[in-house]
């Protein structure tokens, strides 16, 4: 689902950095205040697990990639704020250490997957509870919502950045291509993420919460 460098216009990644920057600052302050020596290792493990899962990518014709993300898993285990930070950290490592994802796409990925995906997953858990069906639905929605947002952002590029002759300067396809090309495969990937969330909860969840 990562967007490589060169596909997102500055008119989009500039404001996205502004919004994400504020949220990262607030999140790091919360992290310093609230996390204890027991919770920090779990966050590190979940971050590393999400990183490892995202390394296995398959490119899609719409210009992006498909893979399980672990968004629902991390959101179920640590809540939306910490999931946002953990996934942002994953994107930072991928962009700066492995050249995967790109720094111009980092805030978009962080906001779509880390924030919106986590909030959607936590919302589903709030409604359905942390039973198997709730965890599965959280994993599924934590994949599908970010996919839809990424597709919307990609499809926005030809509208916000075009040359004088009307040709696109960045990602060239509109929503009629990006929405089906990105969202449809993720409806299936979401099933894998749902199963992953259920299994991860059974292995990693705090005993008092499981």
């Amino acid at each position: 689902m990562h967007i490589p460098d060169g596909f997102i216009a500055p008119q989009v990644y500039g404001p996205a950095y502004g919004v994400a920057g504020v949220l990262w600052t607030v999140g790091l302050r919360r992290l310093r205040r609230e996390l204890d020596p027991v919770a920090v290792p779990r966050l590190a493990v979940a971050t590393a697990a999400a990183f490892a899962l995202m390394l296995v990518t398959v490119p899609l014709p719409g210009g992006t990639t498909v893979h399980v993300s672990g968004v629902g898993m991390i959101a179920a285990l640590f809540g939306a704020w910490n999931a946002f930070l953990a996934l942002s950290l994953v994107f930072l490592m991928q962009a700066l250490m492995f050249g995967d994802g790109g720094v111009t796409a980092l805030p978009v990925n962080a906001l779509a997957m880390g924030l919106a995906g986590s909030l959607a997953a936590v919302g589903v858990l709030h409604v359905l509870g942390r039973r198997t069906i709730g965890l599965f639905a959280a994993g599924w929605i934590g994949t599908v919502v970010p996919a839809a947002l990424v597709a919307l952002v990609l499809g926005l590029q030809p509208l916000v950045a075009k040359a004088a002759d009307g040709t696109p300067l960045f990602f060239p396809f509109g929503w009629s291509v990006t929405l089906p090309a990105v969202v449809v495969p993720h409806l299936l990937v979401g099933v894998a993420d749902g199963v992953l969330t259920v299994l991860a909860w059974r292995i990693l969840a705090p005993k008092e919460a499981a």
Binding site: D5, G6, F7, T104, F171, V177, I203
Partner: protein
Amino acid sequence: MKDRLLLVSYLAAVVAGSVVHDARLLAAGAALVIASAGAGAPRVLRRVVRAALPFALAVSLGYVVAARADLDAAGTVLLRLNARVLLLVGLAFRILPAVDLHRALGFAPTLRFVLVLATSQVLTFRRLFTDFRQALDARSPRRVGLVAALRHGAATAAWFARRAEHDATAMTEALDARGFFLDRD
């Protein structure tokens, strides 16, 4: 300081690369960045192509099919797009290997701490995953079946989770013993 300067330079170059829209300038920039690696240029180029090709190819082919009635205009768009991707990915592979990310992020101790923990776990995951896979291959006289591979994957994942959590706990307790968590606001 050197690492932070390099990182800031890289970010500035990326912004510059995304506000220039002349395909010739972008292509020249990409060529310059890759050539600046000297004897290492072919290796940088290989890494850039390997990282960018799947995306660039998928988008380019899709665009050619969609704009088959006007291939001239499509050529201009694709030249600009691919030159930009080549430049930006080239910058990443040319500059970032020289940056010590942990030093560059020294201005944010909490971020650096979590980054160190996560990096250590990532390296553990990668090395041990290879060990486990090779062990399964060595124990299997014939090609491993799907069920056996799934069972092996599940057992490996559970082992990874426990091992990584144990290691991260040990590192955190070591930092705790040295007072890292005492200076929280």
